[in-house]
Symmetry: C2
Subunit: 140 residues, 2 copies
């Protein structure tokens, strides 16, 4: 049986909301919310003009899945515009970033594995070469 | 660098489509498509009246995330109706099933971890007690 405080069903009111500079994070699966060992899921609502700039996850593989809006998605030094239903796969520790490329909010799912790991979850790379200047005149 | 045939961006035309009795599977991440080691992602479009009956994944943890439509989602012997943006977390080897509870097609994401594992991906439990009769008059 599951621990009574850990969820197996996560409804609209069950998400754990965190504020970030690039928009609210609604956690759907992570340690302490579900019985997550391998799977974390968070829905991000990113206002127009915002970004989660270049960063890496030393211990986690990730998928970005666009729900609505348009993402300028970077994986390493490659960039692609992603629309609803499109995705990016980010191998462990590969630098990546998500920039809202639309006039409206961008909603995407970030899927991360594992859920239990050691070391930092995230390392900011946005100030370091080549990432600081990679987007050229589009840098913000 | 990624192997040239493995994708880091998965557009609408890049998905690998598989036919199943409960509707088409569009694979977005798995071994051979992306550099997946820990994360598999598949979008399932389930017609009205269809189901992926009770089953278990001996080696994989799973999240079901509803994109559109209405799911009668079972995790163990618990059931919940899930709408768009709602989810279920299924610990490794826990029996579960997804039944389209709406008049329209149900679209959901199935997220599975890991991507590399040994043994069977899936064991059908729909003919065994207590699963065969659990849904009572709603059984199909």
């Amino acid at each position: 049986m599951s621990a009574p405080h850990l969820l197996r069903f996560v409804g609209r009111d069950d998400v754990q909301v965190e504020v970030s500079p690039w928009g609210p994070h609604e956690w759907i699966s992570r340690v302490g919310l579900t019985e997550a060992e391998r799977l974390q899921l968070v829905r991000v609502t990113m206002p127009a003009g915002k970004a989660h700039k270049f960063h890496r996850h030393p211990a986690m593989e990730e998928i970005i899945y666009v729900v609505s809006g348009k993402a300028e998605q970077w994986v390493g030094q490659e960039c692609r515009l992603l629309g609803p239903g499109e995705a990016a796969h980010i191998p462990t520790d590969v630098v990546h970033g998500t920039y809202n490329a639309g006039e409206t909010e961008l909603v995407f799912l970030a899927i991360l594995s594992p859920a239990v790991f050691k070391g930092p979850a995230l390392v900011d790379m946005s100030g370091e070469a080549p990432w600081a200047t990679l987007r050229g005149e589009h840098a913000d």
